[in-house]
Symmetry: C2
Subunit: 448 residues, 2 copies
C-alpha cells in the first residue's frame, strides 16, 4: 500500500507533470491538497494548473471559508471556471454565491448553464441558517415498483456518479416522499426483492424552514448520516448530509462560546483587527455601564470605607469570587440549554441544586475568607462580615448563573448572549452591597 504523506503529495504536485499527477490523483484526498495550498499559498497557481477540474471542484468544496472559495475559483482561467462550477455540488455553489456582492454574483451565475443557474437561484431563496439553506438537491430518487436488481442497474448508470448514495428516496410522480431505502438494505437483499419490501415508509424528514440548530439536534438524536428535506406537503426538496451538520455544530458552538464571553458570534481567531474590535467593543461598553453601577454601590459606602480602609482590599475578593462561582453555574446552564438537556421536568431540580452548590461553596470559601480577614484586620467581626457576605454572594451568584440564561431563553433570546456580563453585574453589585452593607451595620465593632 502506497500511503502518501503530505510531503509526498506536495512534491508530486510541485514537481510532477500532469500525467504523473493524473495517475496518482485517485489516492489523493482533496483536503490534503487544500492543506498544502494553505501552507504554501505561493504555489497555489502552479498546483491548480496541473489538477483536473473535478479535483479542483472537490478542493474548493473542502474550503470552509466562502471568501477563500471564491478566491480559489477566480484564480483560475475563465473557461476553466465554467467547467469547475459545473462539477461542484449545488449547495456549495449556493453558499459561495450567497456570500458574494452583486457584481461577483452575476459573474459566477453567468458562468453556469441554465438549469444549474435556476437551481442555485432557487436555493438562494432559502435562509442560509435553515434546513433549506443547508440542503443539496443532488440526491437519488427511485420508484417503488422496481426490484433490487433494477435499482442496481440504474445506479450503474454513469450520470449518477458523485451523488451521495447511502440512502435512496422513494417518491411518487408528484415528488411526494413515500419512503427511504438504505444502500445497506439493497446490498443485503437478493436481486429479485421488490424495492417496496425494503422501503421504510416511516422516514424521518426535516421541514425546509427548520432552524439549522434544530436540524443538528435531530441528526445527533437519531445518529443519521443523511436526511431528506421536505416542504409542508411532504414534497421532497433535497437532502442534508452529516458533514454539513458537523460544520453547523462547530459554528453554533463557537457562536455560543463567543456570545457567553460578550463577543459577536462571527468572530474567529483569523478575524481582522477591525472585525475583532467591532465584535468586542459593544459588549465592553454595556459592561462599562454595569461596572459603573457597581462603582456607584461602592460610592454609596464611601463613608464606611473612609473609616475602615482595609474594607477596600477585601471587597474585591467577595465580588471576584462571586463572579467566578456565577460563571461556573452559568457555563453549566448555557451548555445544558444548548444541548437540550434542560426541560420542564428537571428545571426546578437543577435550580435547587445550584442554590445548594452556592451555599456549600459559599460556606467553604466563606470560612477561608472569614478566617483570613479576621487575621488580616486583627478583628473577628471583620472576619464575620466577610464570611457572611461571601456566603450570600456565592448563593446569589449561582442563582444568577441559573436565572440569566433561563430567562433569556424564555424571552426567545439566545441564552448565551453576553450572559457572562449580566451575571458578573449581579455578583459585583450584590457583592459590594452585601459586604459594605454588613460592614456599615457592624461599623462600631469594626473601628475599635
Amino acid at each position: 500500500m502506497s500511503n502518501l504523506t503530505l510531503k509526498d503529495i506536495e512534491e508530486l504536485l510541485r514537481k510532477g507533470n500532469k500525467e504523473q499527477i493524473e495517475e496518482a490523483i485517485d489516492s489523493i484526498h482533496p483536503a490534503d491538497i487544500l492543506e498544502i495550498i494553505h501552507d504554501h499559498p505561493d504555489h497555489a497557481d502552479l498546483i491548480l494548473s496541473k489538477l483536473p477540474n473535478d479535483m479542483i471542484a472537490d478542493i474548493i468544496e473542502e474550503e470552509d471559508d466562502e471568501d477563500d472559495q471564491y478566491t480559489l475559483l477566480t484564480s483560475l482561467l475563465k473557461d476553466r471556471q465554467r467547467e469547475i462550477l459545473d462539477e461542484m455540488s449545488d449547495d456549495e455553489l449556493a453558499d459561495i454565491v450567497g456570500e458574494l456582492d452583486e457584481e461577483e454574483k452575476s459573474q459566477v451565475l453567468s458562468n453556469l448553464d441554465h438549469d444549474d443557474k435556476q437551481t442555485i437561484e432557487n436555493l438562494l431563496t432559502y435562509d442560509p441558517e435553515t434546513a433549506g439553506g443547508l440542503m443539496t438537491t443532488d440526491y437519488i430518487s427511485i420508484r417503488a415498483k422496481n426490484t433490487v436488481l433494477d435499482t442496481l442497474n440504474y445506479l450503474h448508470s454513469a450520470s449518477l456518479e458523485d451523488l451521495p448514495k447511502y440512502y435512496l428516496y422513494v417518491v411518487d410522480k408528484d415528488g411526494i416522499l413515500k419512503g427511504v431505502v438504505s444502500l445497506r438494505d439493497i446490498v443485503e437483499s437478493s436481486f429479485d426483492t421488490p424495492i417496496l419490501d425494503i422501503t421504510n415508509e416511516n422516514v424521518k424528514t426535516i421541514n425546509y424552514l427548520e432552524d439549522q440548530e434544530d436540524v443538528a439536534k435531530t441528526f445527533m438524536k437519531y445518529s443519521f448520516i443523511m436526511m431528506p428535506v421536505v416542504d409542508d406537503e411532504n414534497r421532497m426538496l433535497g437532502i442534508i448530509e452529516i458533514d454539513d451538520i458537523m460544520d453547523v455544530i462547530e459554528d453554533e458552538t463557537t457562536e455560543d462560546i463567543n456570545l457567553m464571553a460578550g463577543m459577536s458570534g462571527e468572530e474567529r481567531v483569523d478575524s481582522t483587527l477591525i472585525e475583532s474590535y467591532i465584535s468586542r467593543v459593544p459588549w465592553l461598553i454595556v459592561n462599562l455601564a454595569t461596572a459603573v453601577m457597581a462603582a456607584a454601590v461602592v460610592d454609596k459606602f464611601s463613608g464606611t470605607i473612609a473609616k475602615v480602609v482595609s474594607l477596600a482590599s477585601i471587597m474585591s475578593i467577595v465580588t471576584g469570587m462571586g463572579g467566578n462561582a456565577g460563571t461556573q453555574s452559568l457555563t453549566i446552564l448555557v451548555r445544558g440549554l444548548s444541548l437540550g438537556e434542560i426541560d420542564r421536568d428537571n428545571a426546578l431540580k437543577i435550580f435547587f441544586k445550584e442554590v445548594g452548590v452556592g451555599l456549600l461553596t459559599g460556606i467553604t470559601i466563606g470560612i477561608f475568607v472569614g478566617l483570613g480577614s479576621w487575621w488580616f484586620a486583627h478583628n473577628p467581626w471583620f472576619g464575620l462580615v466577610a464570611a457572611l457576605a461571601m456566603i450570600l454572594n456565592m448563593v446569589a451568584a449561582n442563582i444568577a448563573g441559573y436565572l440569566v440564561p433561563v430567562v433569556l431563553r424564555k424571552c426567545h433570546i439566545d441564552p448565551a448572549l453576553a450572559s457572562g456580563v449580566f451575571v458578573t453585574t449581579v455578583t459585583d453589585c450584590l457583592g459590594f452591597l452585601f459586604f459594605l452593607g454588613l460592614a456599615t451595620l457592624f461599623l462600631p465593632l469594626l473601628v475599635q
Copy 2:
C-alpha cells in the same frame, strides 16, 4: 405514509399488545422509545417487557450515559439480559462494562459467550479516550480477488446483518489492511468488476493509540463517516463511525467550556449536588489565592486610598473591564487552539492583533472611564489616571488572554484549563497596580 409521532408511539407501547408492537416496530426509531422512557420512567418496565430483544439492545445503545445503560440492562430479567447483551455492538458493551465496578463487571461478563467475552476484555485494554477505546470490531473485511457480484452475494448472507456497511475493508491473510471499497463503488460498478479495480489502496487509517480529539479532527478534515483503526504493523483492529465521533466532539467541547470556567470536565447539568461541589470548589480555592494576591496589591496602596476614598469606587471598574476584555481574547484563543486554527505561521500575527485590539478597546473604554471619573471626582487628573490605567490594563488583558492558553499548550496542558482564573488574576492584580500606582504618583494632584 404513516409517520408516527412520539405520542402515537407512546400510546402504542403502553396500550398495544406484543403483536401490535411487533408489527410497527420497524418504523419506530429506538431513540424515540428512549425519549419516551426518559419522559415516563415509571412506564419503562412495562414498555421494555413488550419489546423484542434487538430493539432493547438498540435502545440501550442510544443511551449516552453509561450508568443509565446499566440500569436499563439490569431492569430486565436475567435470561433476557443474556440475549440482549448478545445483540449489542462490542464497543458499546465495552463502554458500559468499563464504567462498572468489579462485581457488576464480572456479572455482565459472565452473561456473555466466550468469544464476546474475549472481545470485550480485549477492547477494555485500550484507553477509552483513544482510537482503540472508541472502535468497534464489528466491520466487514473482504478479499481482493473477488468480483462485485461475489461480494454482493457475500453481503446477502444473513450473518452480516447489522454490521456497518458503508465501507468494506480489504485485508490479506494476516489481517494487514490493503485497501478500502465503498459501498457506493460496489453498487456503481458492473457485476463482473474485480474488487481490486475499485479498491482504494491509499486508505487513511487511524493508529489505535491516537487521542480521540485528534481522531475527531481527522474525521472533520476529510468528512469521513467511517475510518479503519490499525496497529503499528497496519493490521486492521476495528472501525470508528461518525456517530461516535459526534459524541466525542460534544464531550470534548463541553470539557473545554467547563475547564475555561474552572470546573471539572466531567460536570454536566444533571450532576448531583456533591459532584458539582467537588467539580467547582478546587478552582474556587485556587481563585481565592489569586484574589488574595489582588487584595494584597490594594492593601499596599491603602495609604493612597485613605487620602482619596473615591479611588475605591473606580478601581473595580478598571479591573472588571480588564477581566472582560481578557475573557474575550482568551475565549477566541482557546476555541482557535481547540479547532487547530492556530499554528506557527499565524501565531505572531494573532498576538499583535490581540495587542492592537487591546489598545483600541482600551482607548475607547479609557476615554469613557476618564471622562466619567473626571466628572465624578471634579478633577481632570483623576480622569487621566483612570484613563491611562484602563488603557494599560486592557492591553495587559489581551496579552494575558493570548499568552495564558498558548503557554499552557506549550507545557502540554489543556489550554482551556482554568485559563479564565489565570487571566482574571493578571487583570485584577495589574489593574489595581496600574490604577492605584498611577494614583499614588499623581497623589498631590488628586488631593487638591
